[in-house]
């Protein structure tokens, strides 16, 4: 599976990734609607984004969260009851929700932020997903 990975050494905190993500997911521009959040922590950029670990799949009561053949964890909105347990239980705090949007959302490794980053600080890295929750 392709997992989004950030390089703190290259990131200049211009937040272009957040803008691109919000546009793709919600046709919005603001960071609250983005599934990637980048913040400075102790002087270094920290990327808060899904690593496709699948812990959310195990807590979802309706089966709305599943792992696709590609390995990416996807949310079926029609099955989601907006309980947000996946938000509270995400180990990397990267299942998120935004005001006015009922279902939560997450990075689906679409790569739009990779293209949008002027510093080329983001990349999609192939990683194995055998043994992870599905």
């Amino acid at each position: 599976m392709k997992v989004l990975v950030g390089d703190p050494g290259k990131c200049k905190l211009v937040h272009a990734c957040e803008a691109a993500c919000a546009k793709v997911l919600h046709k919005k521009t603001g960071r609250p609607h983005a599934a990637i959040r980048v913040d400075p922590v102790e002087g270094q950029p920290r990327f808060q984004v899904c690593n496709q670990c699948g812990e959310c799949i195990t807590v979802c009561p309706t089966g709305a969260l599943t792992r696709a053949k590609s390995g990416i964890v996807l949310l079926k909105k029609d099955l989601c009851v907006a309980c947000y347990m996946c938000v509270g239980f995400c180990p990397s705090l990267s299942m998120v929700r935004a005001e006015g949007v009922l279902p939560p959302f997450k990075c689906i490794s679409c790569g739009q932020c990779v293209k949008a980053c002027p510093e080329k600080a983001l990349s999609l890295v192939e990683q194995p997903h055998e043994g992870l929750p599905s």
């Binding site: 195990t58 807590v59 979802c60 009561p61 309706t62 089966g63 989601c80 009851v81 907006a82 309980c83 947000y84 347990m85 938000v87 509270g88 239980f89 929700r97 005001e99 006015g100 009922l102």
Partner: protein, 729 residues
């Protein structure tokens, strides 16, 4: 050993053939609707005698005074019945009401239904708080409550079908009445297809509810991972007995697919914010606090044992060397882990654990493989330790059949333990029980008693009447002395005790006995505050706790919420707050949740005011039905101190020390009987003082009757309530 949670015996049979045998007695169409800000402002009334089905409006006064859930149930019951009404009169009602906050999917523990009826155990109202999907699905069809009155001539089901806009009373002659089969069959009959199965919920009892007073109701939900229906119980006080007396085989609701905003809340963002905060708390702290997600309430077994609080041998003792055989480590392995076990969407506490692939050892389902829901702490302590049975397989067997037959595990555990002690003391013997050797430690005897209850035969018919009636029967037959029977029969108001030893906690003696419905821990569980943490040393402190906690906890039942996420998970800094036992941050969450859904801002004072009105209303209701006074609030001495020489001797050091330090009596040279008498005199006097202090704090007379000033203060000075109270002033 690994258990496969997808495997079990298929019990459905030919569901279509069974459905074809249904005969529609009455049906109406209705317009489904979603609530606005948590209320539909509409309830459903059904009379099984004359087949009335009608919609009724909810008034603003009902919402202001009774809020919803248990409050609505009590109000309907008050209006439907009279002082002379008993549980099996046609006018008795069975009410199911979820409450205004029920059905939200964001805050843990928000799917509760409240069941209210006149109890066959106590002759006063009983209220049960139960999970499963029935209440929320019914609410999202358009009804804030379901009121059932009358009795059918033959076994019927009531179907509320939202998507089809249909409500019907149908004769259903073929289906099995036992809950694990009934829930499975009716769910498949009324779901449109496999995807639709989670949108159906069934309420059912079981065959033992036909023959005993301790019948319970099972509320189902469809477990997507297990691909099977699961059950939660409205356990206490004989709700299932009333249900079967009305010839109800099942209630079926077929609802719409659940979404996260069907309450049309005033401020979804606010609810979502505190919901996520709670989910995160459970994620971060449950593993280091109560382990509810892995063990449910069964985590309490060894804690209670360690503090001498686990009832053993009919509450004679508080611990046992074999407790490790049924403690949380056993259940942690026996429960299937890693799948969601919430009894409503969004419950991240997920304490509805399941033990899969239980191989049934006895009775009509012998040889079947089934999932057992639980055991919860109360069941493990009640049918296990209290009966001296420390075998997890027998415990699962008993838990399974209690649910299947529609029997309350708490009352069954306590009454079975009472029978076992009666055997121990020669009050019962093989001749008197028809050959049933009902001895402490015997799992097979316990199950035989259960099957006798289910089949309506033998000693099971007597035991199924409950402890209060057994005491009377045994004394009348001259099998035992009335004094001893009254001392060891663990009931108050006719309801059996739940499973905590209260001997060393005066506050908990009140927590059990100064309750509205009978000795159930859901009003006030004060043992740790009182006995372990010593936070409420004076009578005034205890009275304050017995004022605050029962009223605070009432609020969950008014709103369709579970109590557990209030204090079975705590914020990281809770211990550093001024009143950690109240979990102030979570109280604030509830204020926000109420405001977020209903749009009405409340604070913690207003929250208490809401509950205090209903709590006092229920006390006056008890008074109208002939109870609700001081004489009905006294515990059996077993709940207060050592009844027998063995009990005293087993904790002689403790009791001798108390004689010396508290009473200033030197125990040296005194016989055990003399020391027991002194202890009893002291402890019973302490309890009387506690009653005085609690009644005063609650605004009641020394006889336990709410004063007219109190009724006015809590907004319950309706003329009909005042008239009841005035007879006792």
């Amino acid at each position: 050993m690994a258990y496969d949670y997808t495997k079990r015996t298929d019990l459905k049979g030919d569901v279509d053939k069974q459905k074809q045998a249904h005969k529609v007695l009455k049906e109406i169409t209705f317009k489904p609707a979603l609530p606005q800000r948590g209320y539909n402002d509409r309830t459903l009334y059904v009379n099984l005698t004359d087949l009335t089905i009608e919609e009724r409006p909810v008034t603003q006064q009902m919402k202001d005074k009774f809020i919803g859930g248990r409050g609505f149930g009590l109000w309907f019951l008050w209006n439907a019945t009279q002082a002379s009404t008993r549980w099996n009169d046609p006018e008795n009602e069975l009410i199911i009401a979820p409450g205004p906050l029920a059905g939200n999917t964001q805050y843990p523990g928000s799917g509760k239904s409240l069941v209210v009826t006149l109890s066959p155990m106590t002759d006063i109202p009983i209220d049960c708080n139960v999970g499963g999907y029935f209440g929320p699905l019914m609410k999202f069809c358009g009804f804030d409550a379901l009121e059932i009155q009358g009795k059918a001539a033959r076994d019927v089901i009531l179907v509320i079908d939202g998507p089809k806009g249909r409500i019907a009373i149908e004769e259903a002659p073929l289906e099995n009445v036992d809950s694990h089969v009934a829930a499975e069959v009716f769910t498949h009959q009324y779901a449109d297809d496999e995807k639709d199965l989670p949108n159906v919920s069934v309420v059912s009892a079981g065959r033992a509810a036909d023959h005993t007073r301790i019948g319970c109701l099972n509320f189902s939900w469809y477990d997507l991972r297990r691909k099977a229906t699961r059950l939660k119980q409205a356990g206490r006080g004989g709700t299932g007995t009333v249900f079967r007396d009305k010839k109800l085989k099942a209630l079926v609701v077929h609802g719409f697919p659940v979404k996260g905003d069907q309450n049309n809340p005033a401020d979804l963002e606010r609810i979502a914010r505190i919901g996520v905060k709670m989910h995160k708390e459970l994620h971060d702290f449950d593993d280091s606090q109560c382990h509810m997600r892995r063990q449910g309430t069964a985590h309490l077994v060894e804690i209670m044992d360690a503090y001498d609080l686990l009832p053993v041998h009919n509450f004679q003792y508080g611990n046992h060397p074999d407790t490790p055989r049924i403690n949380s480590q056993v259940w942690d392995k026996r429960f299937t882990q890693g799948i969601p076990d919430g009894c409503w969407y969004g419950c991240s506490m997920a304490c509805s654990k399941g033990a899969d692939e239980h191989q049934v050892m006895t009775g009509p389902y012998r040889g079947h493989s089934n999932t057992v829901d639980g055991p919860e702490y109360e069941t493990a302590a009640g049918v296990g330790a209290n009966c001296g049975i420390f075998d997890p397989d027998w415990l699962l067997e008993c838990n399974f059949y209690c649910d299947v037959y529609g029997i309350d595990t708490i009352s069954f555990g306590t009454l079975c333990a009472f029978c076992m002690e009666c055997w121990q003391r020669g009050i019962l013997n093989a001749e008197r029980t028809g050959g049933l050797e009902i001895k402490f430690g015997s799992g097979p005897a316990q199950l035989e008693l259960m099957h006798q209850m289910a089949e309506g035969r033998g000693f099971g018919l007597i035991a199924g009447q409950g402890v209060a009636r057994m005491k009377k029967i045994f004394a009348e037959k001259g099998w035992g002395e009335a004094q001893l029977l009254n001392d060891i029969g663990m009931e108050v108001k006719g309801l059996e005790f739940s499973q905590y030893m209260s001997k060393e906690s005066l506050a908990q003696q009140g927590g059990y006995s100064l309750t509205n419905k009978g000795p159930q821990h859901d009003e006030a569980w004060l043992i740790f505050m009182d006995m372990v943490n010593k936070q409420i040393p004076t009578f005034e402190d205890k009275a304050e706790a017995l004022f605050y906690f029962p009223i605070f906890r009432t609020w969950f039942g008014l709103n369709g919420l579970c109590k557990l996420p209030w204090n079975d998970i705590e914020p990281a800094d809770n211990a550093r707050t001024p009143e950690p036992a109240k979990v102030p941050e979570h109280v604030q969450n509830y204020c926000e949740l109420f405001a977020g859904i209903t749009g009405r801002e409340i604070d913690r004072h207003e929250l208490l005011r809401m509950s205090r009105g209903v709590y006092n209303f229920q006390r006056v209701f008890n008074l109208r039905q002939g109870k609700g006074q001081r004489a009905h609030d006294r515990p059996p001495y077993r709940a207060v101190g050592p009844v027998t020489v063995e009990e005293y001797t087993s904790r002689a050091e403790r009791y001798d020390k108390q004689l010396k330090e508290i009473l200033g009596v030197d125990p040296a040279g005194k016989s055990v009987e003399e020391k027991m008498a002194l202890t009893r005199e002291h402890r019973e006097a302490q309890y009387e003082k506690l009653m005085d202090a609690v009644y005063k704090r609650r605004g009641w007379t020394p006889n336990g009757v709410p004063t007219l000033e109190t009724l006015k203060e809590v907004g319950m000075d309706f003329p009909e309530l005042v008239a009841v109270v005035e007879q006792h002033l």
